[in-house]
């Protein structure tokens, strides 16, 4: 890898009691590139992203952002690091108690100490960029459809122009057409910012659309990674089974 990695995980382990979720994750994302990690439900994809964000502290291993180790950061440094990040949660995780515009402006007001008026203008602009009119701004999240909530979540994730954006299953629960709309918006938003992105999904259509590179997680480890266009010729039977969505193969569902 020629360019220095923007984001790098080396030997990351995490267990919850006897449940060993991550067992030595190694991945790297170059600056400005988009990596999509695919894998089945419950394989630890969300735990991996939350470890990078510092929401979960890994048991072992190294996580570097811009070459700087982040697993042992103290709170003020962690705050500074957090301002480089944008995150779109599975299901949006919008604040129910706040109107849409305040959701989008939240990071600007709290994290970047911007005054409310200016933050509101930016929020409305960001909402427009994800295809939502100014009329939506004063609604509450509960009044929106799933697709609209996800758009608001996207607007919130990119509101403060982050350097690295994380997407946790951005299309899960949406119909295929709405999913495609969200995928396009994700590509547009991250290319527009020149941001590095790390996404996780089990939706292959989504992975093909937004990935420069794809990695597959299985049993707590990365078992394959490569350019997105090589995914159909990976020569890895686990990957083949997953992308074709077959019940038969080396991956056995624990039911």
């Amino acid at each position: 890898m020629a360019a220095r990695a923007k984001l790098e995980l080396r030997g990351v382990y995490k267990s919850f009691g006897a449940n060993h979720v991550l067992k030595g994750i190694d991945i790297a994302v170059e600056k400005g590139k988009s990596l999509v990690v695919i894998g089945g439900s419950g394989t630890g994809k969300s735990v991996m992203i939350k470890s990078v964000l510092g929401l979960i502290s890994p048991d072992k291993g190294s996580i570097k952002i811009d070459g700087q180790e982040t697993t042992k950061l103290r709170p003020p440094e962690r705050d500074a690091m957090m301002r480089k990040f944008g995150m779109l949660f599975q299901g949006g995780a919008l604040f129910d108690s706040l109107p849409v515009w305040e959701n989008v402006a939240f990071g600007l007001i709290q994290g970047h100490a911007m005054d409310r008026k200016q933050a509101k203008d930016i929020a409305i602009e960001k909402l427009r960029s994800v295809g939502l009119s100014a009329g939506v701004a004063k609604l509450y999240p509960a009044e929106l459809s799933g697709g609209m909530q996800q758009r608001v979540g996207l607007a919130r994730a990119v509101a403060a122009n982050p350097e690295i954006i994380f997407f946790d299953e951005p299309t899960t629960g949406l119909d295929p057409i709405m999913a495609d709309v969200i995928n396009n918006l994700i590509v547009e938003a991250s290319k527009g910012l020149g941001a590095t992105t790390l996404s996780i999904t089990h939706d292959m259509a989504s992975a093909r659309k937004i990935a420069d590179n794809i990695a597959m997680i299985y049993k707590g480890q990365i078992i394959w990674h490569g350019p997105a266009k090589e995914i159909d010729h990976s020569g890895n039977e686990y990957v083949d089974q997953f992308i074709r969505g077959r019940a038969e193969g080396p991956i056995k569902m624990e039911v």
Binding site: M87, G91, A93, D96
Partner: protein, 273 residues
Amino acid sequence: MSLSEQQSFSVVGYSQVFLQKLGSAALGFFAAVGRLAQFTGHGVSHCFTPPFFPRLLLRQLIDIGYYSLPVVGLTTLFTGMVLALQSYSGFSRFSAEGAIATVVVLSITRELSPVLAGLMVAGRVGASIAAEIGTMRVTEQIDALTTLSTNPYKYLIAPRLIAGTLMLPVLVLIGDIIGVFGGYIVSIYSLGFIPENYLHKTWEYLERMDVISGLWKAAAFGFIVTLMGCYHGFNSERGAQGVGAATTNAVVSSSILILIFNYFLTQVFFTGK
């Protein structure tokens, strides 16, 4: 192995299993106490360090204080009324009806207003705090706060702890007045007391400490209720079931803690031990 040897072996075996069970239960208990203590420490320290969220605090003051007024008012009103009736039927047996006013005011201010207000607020406020914060935990809104550079202890916990601790004494003071008024109406209109005499008796033996101790209790109970709501919500397990359990646990644990702390606070205030 003889029969008696076998028996004594199995007794040892059973007691070993029993001790192990006891030990792990005790360890679990101390771990839970430790987690709660750590949560309390975090929560309280974030009450005193900036940034503060005055808008959120105001909203909690209104939610916890103003909207609990009807519940607390009704509870203390009827408690004062029933207290007058009960003490009349008791005291009239040895012609001590004159003590009714004193009994009403002392019971209300020292015990009944703080404890009943605390329990009612535990049901109303403790449950809703646990449900709200639990839902935020389960839907990852608390994680979202952190990624948006906002400390959830400052944003969610501190305003609720402050509002609970400040508003319960206010509620209890109002409850004191309403409760005494309840005793007054029953005494005047149904037991035939003379208003001036009754009011005079109400004031005659009342000491400042009777009221103040009740207000201190109220502050402690307000802290307990909001702390339990926040703690159980914050540590809610996944899913709707997790939030339901958090809500129940918040109400049950705060109610029990109120009764326990009430005993010890009473002991501290009135026996000085």
